[in-house]
Symmetry: D4
Subunit: 149 residues, 8 copies
């Protein structure tokens, strides 16, 4: 029995090293996983709309231009994913992470959430739709190691 290469989409927080810890941990175990993610360079992501399509006076449309281009990438990656991991950090609104979670669940994708216990109550609807709630990135690595065994 050989496993397919799993596609895992990593959604959410961009201000800590959780993606690297999952990717490195997976590599250290010799697992072949293909990770995808939104562009995590905050400025590049915010400005991509006006950088490519031209300037906008109004911030609302400046954001719209950027988020339109970014959604080409993220919606395609989520649709191709076998597993979606959604990380919520202690700061910021992170509504795009919760949006990704709802989007993935409606498509029938299994989802794992990753956040501290202090966020359990506001995240209860998201966690309810998750297959597991992890506290540390290494637990996500353990799950991948188990399901790819």
């Amino acid at each position: 029995m050989t496993q397919k290469t799993w596609n895992v989409y990593l959604s959410g927080e961009i201000h800590s090293d959780w993606r690297e810890r999952i990717i490195e941990g997976t590599k250290a175990k010799g697992l072949t996983v293909n990770f995808t993610s939104a562009v995590t360079d905050h400025d590049a992501s915010d400005m991509v709309g006006v950088n490519i399509l031209g300037n906008e006076e109004d911030n609302f449309w400046r954001d719209r231009k950027a988020s339109g281009i970014n959604s080409i990438r993220t919606s395609s990656q989520i649709k191709a994913a076998d597993l979606v991991v959604v990380r919520f950090g202690p700061k910021y609104k992170q509504w795009n992470a919760a949006f990704d979670a709802g989007f993935a669940v409606a498509l029938g994708k299994p989802m794992v959430t990753l956040h501290d216990a202090e966020l359990d109550h506001p995240l209860k609807e998201v966690d309810e739709a998750a297959k597991a709630t992890c506290r540390q990135p290494e637990q996500v690595v353990e799950i991948l190691s188990y399901i790819l065994s």
Copy 2:
């Protein structure tokens, strides 16, 4: 040409009267719209799991029991909706609102967002997927009045 009765799901903030203003405004215009929503009684919603299924020591599982029952209602209502309105208020995390938005969009439901301009930047991915972004509940009423004309 007669319009079907539209099903409109109202998601998000439960601490202001935006739902009432939309429902009353729609009624005042003589429009026949069927509104649905999560249970908006905060305590009833939080405690429904243990109230019906029995107590839990651990808050995580207490929340899980409640959110499981609540999602029977909300997922069914979103699937039956012709339009989903998602409201973000100035307070709280409101991740369930963003989750509902992602869920609705993945199902191909048209969505309208409702929030102040100060939330535009953190909501840019959600607004990108919306057909319109309103500032006031009365604008939602105007949209319903127009599309039901």
Copy 3:
């Protein structure tokens, strides 16, 4: 906000009065729910194939004729259901109940399971896919009362 009439499919055990307790309890609360179910007359269900289509020497084909006709009814009812309740009793294999559960979940239907704690371990995969696990039919009535409020 008025609720649609919910379609609730009742699957599983036919040797106790759990269906009646749910139906009567729901009626007592004044809820308008449309319940559906397989034919629960055990002999009529087993013999429907040969009764209508003609006798079979071989029990395998006798059963096949019956289950073919029964599945016209049950697959159609599950597809039309807003909620599927699956009951496991203390006796018999009840594989059709677990089959119904998997069928419902793959279609995205919310499911509630109903069984004693002693069956928790063998039912762990079914319960994982459920929105709630009840011990008494009256708890199902409570859930219906809540989500239809």
Copy 4:
């Protein structure tokens, strides 16, 4: 005319060597089939939840944690399968096997069942949805050999 590599999911009984007999028999015939399956190490599977995500006092939640992680693997494998083989042995409830069967059928996957004649009657609804009912693993090998010819 060259055949694609078939993905075949093997569901059910873990206490006999039926998986090995199918895999070895297929290999002996020189067929290229990719087999997948749940983790069949009973203890590893039961304890994976608490092993990775932390201990639970309550057996119900201990099982839930395990079955959540296991379903990431099994639901993904069933969705990727071209054929699902479901084995029922003489012992245990095996409700997860019947659940897998219902899940697969609702997704439109062809299914083959594998069990003794004494289980025909309780499995009549599952067999009705199957393309073939085998008594011996070698018959499954014969079917694969034929459809891959």
Copy 5:
């Protein structure tokens, strides 16, 4: 438990009274079934294309014009059906009946076939996909009576 009104599509042979026998038999039993069917007036059906859209020299295009209009009706009726009954008589090619059968099965509609035993062998692929194979229209009535009980 009240049954929905079932939509039953009657496909195939137009030269015998099998439709009438099913419709009358169902009515005699007091069942509320909504039957649909292609236009069964042979000449009206063949000529509808040129009658409405204008003449054609070439028979191939004359037939195409008719079958385009007829398929608006039949594809819509099959999509709305809860059950599809396909009748094969002793005469003519009746490829449209087999086409309807394949179309219905791919959409997940339960199908019942109705034909004499002498057609069993050439219809084996169609019957394999059917929930029941009847010899007489009255057996279809019996099935409807049972599943609507």
Copy 6:
């Protein structure tokens, strides 16, 4: 055999009376058809975005605001339609009509086109996907009369 009420979406040209001729012709024949359509008041449709959501300096975003609101209505109506009629007149680009046609066909909706012969060549890809191509609105009425008989 009684027909359901058909939902027919009328897409395209707003500068001639083709919609009225179809609606009146259908009514004259006593057919019960439910017609839907985009808002056909050209100015109301163009200005709805800024009228409800506030002014825009840039015409591109003014149009975007309007087309977002209009698509709530049209996408919902096309999804609910049993038949889509697309009219191309002799003037203007009418790209929204061709867009509606592609949208409807991808959803599996039967489509009828309505245009003069001089537009046959540029419309060959749209007509290929149509069940019928009419020259006069009265031919659409004839088709409805036939399929509703």
Copy 7:
């Protein structure tokens, strides 16, 4: 611009060399096409059920066993196909070919039919759903050569 490898399913008549002419013609043009098909050895196909699963007294069930196994192969191949070619010869009922055609069309697969003009009238419903009707296998080769250019 490089073309993917197309999967083409060849359905229908097994008593002439049309499959070989398409496969050889395609090879001669240097096109890389992956052809699939039912097992075309008539006796092997008819007897596969009893050969693998054991004898049956009744011809109906003997056929059912064979067609169950055959449909594992054909349904999987049609679902994987980019194009379905359906051949009707001058002899036999060939209802499985028409069934395959309906099945393919309901799944949104483009279909090409291949038959003589004398079969045009009985095949009008099948041809209506086809993208092209060919008279000679070499025309199918030409179509493949064009769309793969």
Copy 8:
């Protein structure tokens, strides 16, 4: 994190070099993108029906034969695309481009439009459904470069 190879379908205008500019620009940046497109040789495309399937007196059917064969290619390519780029030039009706846009959007494919500002108003419904509107092919290359980074 490695990117999959993206499939990008290029729809629309065939009288300027926009396809070449996108393909060459993408190659110059070292991106691995698989581009697909309709046959862009105007005469080959228009005459393919009669060239392969035989002559037609009537231009309508001559066009139908060609567009049937062309749609085998284009519908298959759009279904396989991760991104659809639709170009509208200053001349001709280009209804097939708008049809492709609607078809792609209904399938949930992200779309980018490419046209001059003077076409903004007639294309407002198409642009509303697009993730970005570009003026120059080089902007499409920039978007591909960004989402493939």
